[in-house]
Symmetry: none
Subunit: 256 residues, 2 copies
Amino acid sequence: MTDRDLTGGLKPLGVLEALAAMQQPATLAQLVTYLSVPKPTVHRWLKALESVGLLSRHPDGRRYEIAARATQLAVAILLGEPGRALRRNILRRLVDDVGEACNLTIFDGTDVTYLDRVEANWPLRISFQPGSRVPAHSSASGKLFLAYMPPSRREKLLRQIPLTRCTENTLTSASALAKELQSIRRLGYSTDREEYLDGLVCVAAPVFTTMQSRRSCVAAIAIQAPVTRNDIDALTKFVPKLQKAAGEIAATFEGS
Amino acid sequence: MTDRDLTGGLKPLGVLEALAAMQQPATLAQLVTYLSVPKPTVHRWLKALESVGLLSRHPDGRRYEIAARATQLAVAILLGEPGRALRRNILRRLVDDVGEACNLTIFDGTDVTYLDRVEANWPLRISFQPGSRVPAHSSASGKLFLAYMPPSRREKLLRQIPLTRCTENTLTSASALAKELQSIRRLGYSTDREEYLDGLVCVAAPVFTTMQSRRSCVAAIAIQAPVTRNDIDALTKFVPKLQKAAGEIAATFEGS
DNA sequence: ACCATACGTTCCAGAAAATGGAATTTCTTG
DNA sequence: CAAGAAATTCCATTTTCTGGAACGTATGGT
């Protein structure tokens, strides 16, 4: 399953990878099957990961799930890893090309989290906090993630996140959102028509990566503009450029 | 209570965390300084991480940087089960509302374990890391678990765990604790009046989940505050909000 | 309520790996 | 091209890991 076996005091990490791949909490028995490792060994690994805060037990006391420290580590990796510089260059070229601010976001399970952003007027200066968050239903990127997510997960998620109204245009009904998501899947890109902030429009394209031979949309890049300077129709003309950049970004998430 | 050391065959991960935290490639010498670990050991850890694809060498041949496998793991972690992210959002909203740090704990059979914690933006704060453990008898959450546990199990447990004194206010007699637990069941919430740490007060509400058609309290959320800023009476006013959030958290544990 | 079965946990002696001070090699710099 | 710094290797000792077997504990069926 994994390309290379973990050795050198890292074998317990296999459990973390397995749990991340399964995308849901798992029992000891399931992990034993998945990993083909003796039961007492997996048990010991689980205890080690738990004692260190990387895993925690689901309240059912049986299954294990990925814990807060692992999430923190994941965020730190994405912000600190060298691929980030590559991605910023791609973003910068796009910004130079279209003349508006662009951003790269990732879906953190619930919300859209900014990984990076390049402003149009200050190409060398970054004036935002990586890690800012935006609700999924009211942003072009977020709707993209929702659109391309497995249906079962989407349903579960939409049952639990509130469709908070941000502006007059925010889609706050499940049916309107469902229709929009379908349209996004048809078009292959997503828009934000002042749904998050008044006066701000946005076009986003998906960044697909292949994980465990499954194509999923983990990230998105978007062009944001004040509607007074570029309306949706104007931004839509940039979609091919956006998609090309998205393809380049996808490569930075794969191997090197 | 603070950062816990990595043990159990996970020590090399400290290097990964360090590199992620530094946000840029680092040399062996830098990592040795940063980690305060002997040079040959760090070297071995680096080789282990490299051989496994989590780290790679910067083109300069000297520095190490985070590699593709780590990125993939990070993405998989963030993409995974939305439960964590949902719970964190609920906590975050509560924290914004009440202005004090809140935490989510589960009961692991003996101790209270932190699943997550969100700090308020106040300068004065006590810091608990997720994964920390706290004795059941001297914390608001722990007493909640004890209160709502089946009596037979409670008796057995109380015979096993020592009622260690943490502060002057810690309940160290079985009778005082029994009385407290009864009061908790009557009120539906629990308090910690500087019973674990001097100067720290806390109010906790139960998170009930239905498991095997049995309603049980396996998790709890709590608001913690320095007594100088919010005393018990002040915190008690937040109980309805706390209970509402507890209900939302419960929902995130239900779906498969 | 009972048993059958699966699941989780603990035990422990042999096997394997980690540890770090010291020595050695390789890179850097003036 | 030497001097100093950094990286790498060596290796005896200590420590941890491993996994078959045995032991508890929960679950599901009758």
